[in-house]
């Protein structure tokens, strides 16, 4: 078990991590039938790396990601994006944080149907009232490889193309962290490959930090490090994973 990411130094000034959480716990329900979705998790996601979070259904991986993204409020513990603590922030600050410092890729429905691919791409910058940085947009577009389909509406793009636009959109503000929630969940293998390659490229060529939740060992093999969750707790890690290595680990977890 490699220890560096799982036991980060607790100093708030530590900027080697894109995101960190300390003693993060999320409990749902109440009235005696509580469900502990995330159980006292302390984790760090280093900058310019691609981390996959894996685990069987109900292991709390999505909840963990939502808490780190500020989409959900933890019951206890602290969350940092870069050097900024987000626990306790109000809606307006969280919104601004999501807009400027986080990127999201969901399983489906990532694009606003009335906007073209290009308009979707620059949406976060537009929401912030800024003109996106032209050189950076060109670079992302170049990696995106969508060519002339950029001016089409989402309904005119394939599922894989839509997800690639979604990844591009997540990168457009040069966020501290890109969070991807089962980004290939709805795609065939060929499209999945294109999306995963794009995500990996974003880390390698553009120096972005990515955290991806998935239950697909093949998708996880694109990452540089896999964190395994079970019953809301960290159950181990795997550096430089392969599909088979991940499968083995999953079997051991009893998934």
């Amino acid at each position: 078990m490699s220890s560096a990411p799982a036991a980060p130094a607790p100093a708030a000034s530590d900027v080697d991590f894109a995101a960190r959480c300390y003693d993060l716990t999320k409990v749902y329900g109440g009235d005696g039938n509580d469900v502990v979705a995330v159980d006292d998790v302390t984790l760090g996601f280093p900058r310019a790396t691609f981390t996959a979070v894996m685990g069987p259904s109900g292991s709390g991986k999505s909840t963990l990601m939502h808490c780190i993204a500020g989409l959900d409020t933890p019951t206890s513990g602290r969350v940092f994006i870069g050097d900024r603590e987000i626990t306790g922030l109000g809606d307006a600050d969280l919104t601004r944080l999501r807009r400027d410092r986080l990127g999201f890729v969901f399983q489906a429905f990532n694009l606003v149907p009335v906007l073209t691919a290009r308009e979707n791409l620059v949406l976060p910058a537009k929401l912030g009232g800024d003109e996106p940085e032209a050189a950076w947009v060109d670079e992302v577009v170049g990696v995106l490889g969508l060519g002339d389909r950029l001016d089409h509406r989402p309904s005119e793009l394939s599922g894989g193309q839509q997800q690639r636009v979604a990844v591009g959109r997540a990168l457009i503000t040069r966020p501290d962290l890109v969070l991807a929630d089962e980004p290939t969940g709805n795609l065939d293998s060929q499209s999945s490959d294109a999306v995963m390659s794009f995500l990996a490229d974003a880390v390698e060529r553009l120096g972005q930090s990515v955290v991806m939740v998935t239950h697909d060992p093949w998708a996880a093999s694109y990452s540089s490090n896999v964190v395994f969750l079970r019953d809301g707790a960290v159950e181990g890690e795997l550096a430089a994973p392969t599909t088979d290595g991940v499968l083995d680990k999953m079997k051991n977890l009893g998934a």
Partner: protein, 841 residues
């Protein structure tokens, strides 16, 4: 099972039906209020009429010959005073009393603004319809009773001295009693009762007679014999009349007649209000249709699933209709109760209403409101229910968004075509004065706009997108969304199109009519000062003398507005009304003489009228006076129109001589002396007229102001009633937004998660609402202007006045409507948890 699904659907998603419920509730509230107002008024008036006259066995009343030339200008003859004594003396008659009325004015709460009332000459008898709540009936000169509500309003108590104005001048009186009539305070708006001793002062009793004579028989009377004798007396009295006669009614006939009059007054009011209420319901129907269409589209997968597991198309149809029925029944019931409540409140709180009406709502009215609300809702849900039943089972598996239907190009072309042809027909019809072309053109234009609506919305959205994109991304997304679902945007805007069209049409056509009338009056020549009553009652001789003697007036002309009728058809089957004036003072009236010369032996006719009727200078016109006497008169002058007198005139003295009738003076016209202090003179004349009830000093400017005020009041009232339609349209926008937000939950969640602030989200929804309302307002206003312009151009020969102010108000109201409609949906959307939204599948 399906019943359960329908019921649970309504219960689980009440907000989905919020706009529908509000629309139906508002429209049925309006209808319910209209019917309750009618019922309350009608029942109160009827029961009062019957209760107040319950002792009457027989009545003698005057009537007018329906086929006499000026029947509509004449009032029925009064029963001569001595006839009452003759009737009372008939064997079997226990008692006979007369009843007469005239205008009076009580002092107002504010100085110089008198309170108009009806003065009744009453006799203390069981037959008298009034009752006394406190004190007693007036018995001597200078004694009056006032209805108890008016007494309270004006702070008059028994024993209070009060100076009232009557048709024959001031009367210093003392309040001796407070009266009631049937179940309510007053028979008219306000009642003042006086004794027969003041009959001449209040109602010109000696010469005009009683309005009606009420008779009570002895218990053991031979009713047939007594009735025959009263009949004979009535016939005798009629002998001396020049026109009309007297009829004898039984008590039941009288009560039926009075009740009938009350009912017809109330039902007239009821019908007028119902027109607006049903208009509101029709606009509500559009919203109901729109809601159910949207809801059915959103639930395509649910219906497909139901169909896939073996539900029949009929069952699906029934389930949707059942939902509509639940909404219809609940909303209509709320509307019925609210409307009735509003009227009950008005009766309880507003004295002027409570004075003569008690609350009442007939069961049939409740049924009418409920049935109207339910039928409109069910009819509106008919097509959506049919569409739901046509859902194919495979659609359960489809991924495509079922809520967005593309704008049909053919539909757009057909609509635009209809608009073009309609506009052309309207323009041509207006140019060649063809009402058929204008009517057909208007209808076609309207239908075209409704059909082409989605295409128009799409076009507009594309034009607006770039400028809005420059404003903010929220605005751009709003316009893009309006475009994406252009059919729904157009359908939502349609309710507003119709509402705004009605308001703009009414205000612009009505405004043009008002300005035209004011203009025409302004152009008429007139005297500096004229004194007249608006009801056409004769002027008191003392008043005439006093005004004539006012310093600073020269040549006071005496006018009788209708002495008879010339045997000429002046259109619409009307005969030429002839006035009597001082021909010597003709110049005072400011009438231009265009041809010939006025003299005291001939007839002066307005030139336009003469040309229309085909007569010229020197022609002979036979004039029949009101009392039936006839005289042949030569047309000696053609004149302009005047504001003070009818278009045909003869010398008043000549009219009296020829008819042998002592024709009274109905108005006076005078000019200021050259060196007179005009304000002082006006004040002097006013001091005299204020002593007389119903008589006013009028100068042309005041009259113009009065006409303008009247029109403006009418226009405001109509606009307010039509405004309900706009409020209903507002609910439509609200409803569409709520539905759209529910449908776009995931999209909104996505926007929130990538950094859209709550403020931006609210702005986006507000902009979409404003776009919808602006589309509706603009189209409605353009249609209203175009159609009213075309019609007014023909009807008033081009005197169209552009209602800029009203238009500006309407456009601002449109924007405000959009903003208001978006408040709730925007709040709801912004409150939504972004995380939950993206989890929603």
């Amino acid at each position: 099972m399906l019943t359960q699904i329908a019921w649970r659907n309504v219960r689980a998603n009440p907000v989905r039906f919020l706009g529908t419920v509000l629309a139906v509730v508002l429209a049925t509230t309006f209808l319910s209020a209209a019917l309750t107002a009618r019922d309350s008024l009608s029942d109160s008036l009827e029961s009062n009429a019957v209760a107040a006259l319950d002792e009457v066995d027989l009545a003698v009343d005057g009537f007018v010959d329906e086929d006499s030339p000026g029947a509509q200008f004449e009032s029925p003859p009064g029963v001569p005073v001595d006839v009452v004594a003759d009737v009372a003396a008939v064997d079997g008659v226990a008692e006979a009393i007369g009843q007469a009325s005239g205008d009076v004015e009580l002092p107002g709460l504010v100085a110089d603004s008198p309170t108009p009332a009806t003065g009744w000459v009453v006799v203390d008898s069981p037959l008298t319809p009034w009752s006394i709540a406190e004190g007693r009936l007036p018995a001597a000169a200078g004694e009056i009773a006032v209805d108890e509500d008016t007494a309270r309003e004006l702070d008059l108590a028994v024993g209070a001295p009060v100076a009232i104005a009557t048709i024959s001048g001031p009367l210093e009186a003392t309040v001796v009693g407070l009266s009631t009539y049937g179940d309510v305070a007053a028979r008219e708006l306000r009642d003042v009762l006086v004794s027969a001793a003041d009959g001449d002062v209040v109602a010109d009793l000696s010469s005009s007679g009683w309005d009606i004579v009420l008779v009570d028989f002895d218990d053991d009377a031979d009713i047939d014999a007594a009735t025959t004798q009263v009949d004979a007396l009535a016939d005798d009295a009629a002998e001396s009349l020049e026109t009309g006669g007297f009829e004898v009614l039984t008590g039941d006939e009288l009560r039926d007649r009075e009740a009938g009059q009350a009912a017809s007054l109330a039902s007239g009011l009821g019908i007028g209000l119902q027109v607006f209420a049903y208009l509101a319901l029709v606009i509500g129907a559009l919203i109901i249709f729109n809601t159910f269409t949207t809801v059915v589209a959103q639930r395509t997968r649910e219906f497909a699933l139901l169909r896939a597991i073996g539900t029949s198309a009929r069952q699906v149809r029934r389930a949707v209709r059942l939902e509509a029925l639940v909404v219809a029944v609940v909303s209509s019931a709320i509307g019925t109760a609210l409307g009735a409540g509003l009227i009950a409140l008005a009766i309880a709180v507003i004295p002027a209403v409570g004075n003569f009406a008690n609350f009442s709502m007939r069961p049939l009215s409740i049924v009418q409101v409920m049935v109207s609300g339910i039928v409109v809702t069910m009819v509106s849900a008919f097509i959506p229910a049919w569409r739901a039943s046509r859902t194919r089972p495979v659609e359960a598996m489809r991924d495509a968004d079922p809520t967005v239907k593309p704008v049909s190009r053919i539909r757009g072309l057909i609509g635009m075509g209809a608009m073009a042809v309609g506009a052309l027909a309207l323009a041509i019809g207006s140019a060649i004065d063809n009402w058929w072309a204008m009517g057909a053109g208007s209808v076609l234009l309207f239908i075209g706009v409704l059909v082409a609506g989605p295409t128009l919305v799409s076009l507009l959205a594309r034009v607006l997108r770039r400028p809005l994109a420059r404003l903010s991304i929220a605005d751009e997304l709003a316009v893009a969304e309006a475009d994406r679902n252009a059919r729904r945007t157009a359908a939502t805007a349609n309710a507003l199109v119709i509402g705004v069209f009605l308001v703009v049409f009414a205000t612009s056509a009505g405004g043009a009519l008002r300005d035209f009338a004011v203009d025409q009056i302004g152009e008429l020549s007139g005297a500096d000062v004229s004194v007249a009553s608006f009801t056409g009652q004769p002027l008191d001789e003392e008043l005439v003398t006093q005004v004539t003697e006012v310093d600073g007036l020269v040549e006071v002309a005496q006018v009788n507005s209708t002495v008879g009728f010339g045997d000429l058809d002046i259109g619409f089957g009307q005969q030429l009304p002839v006035a009597g004036v001082d021909m010597d003072a003709f110049g005072v009236l400011g009438v231009d003489v265009i041809e010939g010369a006025v003299d005291s032996e001939g007839l002066a006719v307005a030139e336009e009228l003469a040309t229309g009727a085909g007569i010229a200078l020197g022609d002979i016109v036979t004039v029949e006076f009101l009392n039936g006497e006839q005289a042949d008169l030569e047309v000696t002058a053609l004149t302009g129109f005047s504001f003070d007198i009818p278009p045909a005139n003869i010398d008043l003295a000549l009219a009296r001589e020829l008819s042998g009738d002592d024709l009274p003076v109905t108005s006076l016209a005078a000019q200021y002396a050259p060196d007179a202090d005009q304000d002082q003179v006006t004040a002097d004349v006013e001091a005299i007229t204020s002593q007389y009830a119903g008589i006013d000093l009028i100068d042309t400017n005041q009259f113009v102001t009065l006409i303008r005020t009247f029109f403006n009041f009418l226009l405001s009232a109509v606009s307010a009633l039509l405004g309900v339609a706009i409020v209903i349209a507002l609910f439509g926008i609200l409803n569409t937004l709520v539905l759209a937000i529910a449908e776009r939950t995931r999209e909104l969640g996505l926007l929130r998660s990538v950094g859209m602030t709550r403020r931006q989200l609210r702005r986006m929804i507000r902009t979409e609402a404003v776009i919808t309302s602006m589309v509706g307002t603009t189209i409605g206003a353009v249609l209203g202007l175009a159609i009213s312009f075309a019609i007014i151009r023909v009807a008033l020969e081009g005197a169209f006045s552009w209602p800029w102010l009203e238009l500006a108000v309407t456009m601002v109201a449109g924007v405000v409507t959009g903003v208001v409609a978006s408040l709730f949906p925007a709040w709801r959307a912004a409150r939504m948890n972004a995380l939950e939204a993206i989890r929603t599948e």
